[in-house]
Amino acid sequence: MATSERNEQVSQAQLLAEAAEAAPSRQASLWGDAWRRLIRNRLAVIGMVIVVMLVLLAVFAPLLAPYGEGEVIHESLVLAKPSWYFPMGVDQNGRDVFSRMLYGARVSLLVGVVAQLIVLAIALPVGSVAGYFGGRVDNYLMRAVDVVYAIPQLLLVLLIVNLRGPGIANIFLAIGLTGWVTMARLIRGQMLMIREQEYVKASRVAGAGPLYIIVRHMLPNSMTPIIVALTFGIPVAIFIEAALSFVGVGIRPPQASWGQMVGIGQQYIRSVQHLMLFPSLAIALTMLAFTFLGDGLRDALDVRLND
């Protein structure tokens, strides 16, 4: 009798130990599975490779660029066509286009990432609180959503940048301040859904406070749609910066930005075309890479975004 009881206890302990061992590995395999699905997707891998290369080019721009960002090589070289020494030609001020392209990659990627971080910094608390508590906070959020949705984001960004003046910091700010609403709505929706799950109720009954429940249960379980939305948000931010700089209210020379280079190149379109060609292709390729990556992530993480 005593031995069988002890056996039972031992087997229970074994089961518990096995479960404890299995738990972290199961969690790892959730991301592991997603990763395997992602790298099986050819387009997603292409997107990822391009993004990694862009990041490397941007980080090591000062080492790779043969000339400085605003360095005027020589007046006689103004608008020179692409050649062995200047693979992408020379611009209207006698600056090396290739070097400026490398520095432009920095601006694009920085805008993409920092703007999304600002979006997340605003949307995460607002969306969580609105979704968890509902009521008045939720009402205010949804009214803000209505107003912001009534003005197209690009228009609002133009107004804010016009107010604050050109420069990369103001572009971060403008995109962040106008972009958080969509993300907050997404997080709110996730929270509303998870709030009713049994494990959240169990946690609440066990005495957990709102902050603990949000941080420990609700956020980890709404990670995947947030990650996918962030990935899709990066090309949008890159596009907005390029568009602003294109019409001359974003990044001002001598600092380089792809959109600005396209805008300036447009003034010389009848004489030389290489000025606009390379930055145009770079913007298109970057946007494409992030879209591939976003599509792949969405499929791999099995997320349905209501777009």
Partner: protein, 313 residues
């Protein structure tokens, strides 16, 4: 139904008011006088003061705002600061038709092309045609309109004529129908891609439904199944895309008009932005706000009318 319409119409009054307040504040907080643009001749401070008084800019902000809204409701948007002696209303009524024309053409191109591409993709799911349309849609979706505009100009105005000697398109302008083609493609490509993606997934959902299986089981020709049963139902959710797509077309036209030198409202708007021409900026933003609010309402109503399962209340 009627009460829904009334409530929606009433709701967009506060929305438009909020939009106008936000815009008004953003514009009036902008540093620098609109009468002293960078690089212009210096005006004496007392002259600036006199001009500001003439435009009522010396009064407190709430008073200025109330005056503005009161006049705007009567159709008077004031005088442009940048082009003195021209009424903002006149400038807009002169340039808006061009933008509207471009927008309608781009929307038609997007709707027709997007639905065709989406249907072809869904009917040949995982076939070569599907991959072709999905790839084209991703390309169109991710390349920004002004970049596409420039690539189109480079290809069709410089390179192809250079190789073949066929010179058909111009760099810009808006005189003849041949000037309309490239801007329409540049502006419509993004919305086309969104419609194609959406149509494809909506079609695939419907193709798997029971009533389609029934239609096939009773021996209907595949063509009839697709057109009468699948397409009709699959296009209903696509209608809801119209709201955001119109917003994309409206803001997209700023940049496309800029690239092709089209004398539309978007091009004027960008110029006003640089010149801090407050009455112009305010009027254009308000116009867009009202236009989009009305279109969204119409889309909601149309949605209810097409799909009897949806009760508007």
């Amino acid at each position: 139904m009627l009460s829904f319409v009334i409530r929606r119409v009433l709701w967009f009054i506060p929305t438009i008011l909020m939009v106008s307040i936000v815009t008004f504040l953003l514009i009036h907080a902008t540093p620098g006088s609109p009468f002293q643009p960078e690089g212009a001749n210096n005006l004496r401070p007392e002259d600036i003061e006199r001009i500001e008084k003439q435009y009522g800019l010396d009064k407190p902000l709430p008073v200025q705002y109330a005056n503005y809204i009161w006049k705007a409701m009567q159709g008077d948007f004031g005088e442009s600061y940048q082009r003195r002696s021209q009424q903002v209303g006149d400038i807009i009524s002169r340039t808006f038709p061009t933008s509207f024309h471009l927008g309608v053409m781009a929307l038609t191109f997007a709707a027709v092309g997007g639905v065709i591409l989406g249907v072809l993709a869904a009917v040949n799911q995982n076939g070569p045609m599907d991959y072709f349309s999905v790839t084209l849609a991703v390309l169109f979706y991710s390349v920004p309109n002004f970049v596409l505009a420039i690539l189109l100009i480079l290809a069709f105005v410089f390179w192809i004529p250079g190789w073949t000697g066929l010179d058909f398109f111009n760099v810009g302008g808006w005189e003849s129908p041949r000037d309309w083609i490239l801007p329409t493609i540049a502006l419509g490509a993004g919305p086309l891609a969104i419609i194609a993606r959406y149509t494809r997934s909506s079609m695939i959902d419907v193709i798997r439904s029971d009533y389609v299986r029934t239609a096939r089981a009773k021996g209907l020709a595949e063509r009839k199944v697709i057109v009468k049963h699948v397409l009709k139902n699959a296009l209903i959710p696509v209608v809801t895309l119209l709201g955001p797509l119109l917003a994309a077309l409206a803001t997209g036209s700023f940049f496309v008009e800029q690239v092709f030198a089209i004398p539309g409202m978007g091009k004027f708007f960008i110029e006003s932005m640089r010149a801090k021409d407050q009455p112009m900026i305010l009027a254009v933003v308000l116009l867009y706000g009202v236009f989009l609010a009305i279109m969204n309402l119409l889309v909601d109503l149309a949605y209810g009318a097409i799909d009897p399962r949806i009760r508007l209340n």
